[in-house]
Amino acid sequence: MSRSKIFPSLDAAVADIPDGATIGFAGFSGVGSPCFLVGALIRQGAKNLTCVANSTNQRNPPPGGADMGGVCANGQLAKAICAFTAPTRPSQKLPFTEFYEAGKVDAEIVPQGTLAERLRAAGSGIPAFFTPAGVGTEIAEGKESRIFNGRTYLMEHALPLDYAFLRAWKADMLGNLQFRLTQRNFNPLMAMAARVTIVEVEEEILPAGAIDPDLVHVPGVYVHRLVKVNPKGMA
């Protein structure tokens, strides 16, 4: 192997991210969420970012961890692309909401299945696809629609990423990844959609061959940087 994918620190793994980059944060409800890489992105300080995630907030990020709301509060966010851009309860206050309502950041709301499929399409060489999700609603406004077999579908475009941040359970030194239970969620899709995939890994990084090829969830060809993180207190 010519070059190791194992990086010595979270900060080293995100050091080159330029202003204006589009970055995907995998995870769902804090599970499989790369909160320590997001924390490192806040220390790194790249600005004018477009960030893609299921939600702008992660439930209870541990110390050193962060979510898109933190990136926003640090003045680094230009645009959020999410399935949630407002809290689901009026009583809930999210850090992102204040910035969004004041017009300081832009946001695009995307149905969750459409978000997943836009990432999958980007990682599969498919520029656009048709889905029935959102037909007859406000989010169909301005979108091209077509009728197939008597049913209306909306055209949705692929969503390529410059960088993807992932959280995996196990990895080998070649970047082959394994997830546990609902940790998988958006992780494989964001890896496929990105030019550069950076992974925080819970277990010790294994030698090549330690993960059965039949049990690899993300092949190492999609993975560029690995950082071992301390599982203590992690969501």
């Binding site: 769902f28 409800s29 804090g30 599970v31 499989g32 299921n54 439930r59 399935a83 949630f84 851009t85 407002a86 809290p87 689901t88 009026p90 909401t97 969004y100 309502e101 946001a107 709301i109 995307v110 149905p111 969750q112 299945g113 459409t114 997943a116 499929e117 990432l119 999958r120 889905t131 029935p132 999700a133 959102g134 037909v135 007859g136 609603t137 406000e138 989010i139 359970w169 997830f179 546990r180 239970l181 609902t182 940790q183 998988r184 969620n185 958006f186 992780n187 494989p188 899709l189 969830h217 992690m234 969501a235």
Partner: protein, 222 residues
């Protein structure tokens, strides 16, 4: 004040869960719908699906038995049933989009007599929370709703026409509220079961559209 008359939340969930048929794949959304996973399905084989990629989860995990890698759509720790499978998000929504979900159960702010419902955006809000609701509503075989019968201010949530931006048009088939169980069809809204301590007059007053009353109306057994 929130209207706390009639059924408790778990009773509402049980009432709707009794409508699940043997062999169904059931998707449970955030909020009261997740309580359906605690219902007693009896002899019926029900497979619970969660949008974050679990096919075959079980009841909520008891305190001290939470697995930090296993949550439902609402981020609550659940258990996993023998024979469960895990998929990533695109495959989870492929299952949804291809029509394999027999019913999706969701919360809502409003349901209309023609089966439209609204659950992603509040009045005057910038942005909203769609989550998986639009994919599920457009593609599941049926949409069931569980919600309080009225708003905090006592206004009806079952209405002639939704005032909030809708999640999908004409898809709701069944609604469970603290007042009872309602079906939605071409005839409009029909009450199927009424909570034991609620009167039909109370139901009609608290509902924003005509409520049909069948001769075989039953009282919810609690």
């Amino acid at each position: 004040m929130a209207d706390e008359k009639g059924l408790t939340r778990q009773q509402m969930a049980n009432l709707l869960a009794a409508e699940f048929q043997d062999g169904w794949i059931v998707n449970l959304g955030v909020g009261i719908p997740t309580m359906c996973s605690n219902a007693d399905f009896g002899d019926r084989v029900i497979t619970l699906h969660s949008e974050n990629g679990v096919i075959g989860y079980g009841p909520m995990a008891g305190e001290g038995h939470e697995d930090r890698h296993l949550v439902n759509a609402g981020g609550q720790h659940v258990t996993i049933n023998p024979g469960a499978a895990i998929v990533h998000h695109a495959d989870s929504f492929a299952l949804i989009r291809s029509g394999r979900i027999d019913v999706t159960v969701m919360g809502a702010y409003e349901v209309s007599g023609s089966g439209d419902f609204a659950n992603w955006k509040l009045k005057g809000a910038k942005g909203g929370g769609i989550g998986g609701a639009m994919d599920l509503a457009a593609c599941a075989q049926r949409v069931f709703i569980i919600m309080e019968h009225t708003t905090r201010d006592g206004a009806p949530r079952i209405v002639e026409k939704c005032t909030l931006p809708i999640t999908a048009p004409g898809v709701v088939k069944m609604v469970a509220t603290n007042y009872g169980l309602f079906s939605v069809g071409p005839e409009g809204v029909t009450i199927r079961a009424i909570a034991p301590n609620i009167t039909l007059d109370e139901v009609k007053t608290a509902t924003g559209c005509t409520v049909h009353v069948p001769t075989d109306l039953r009282v919810v057994a609690v």
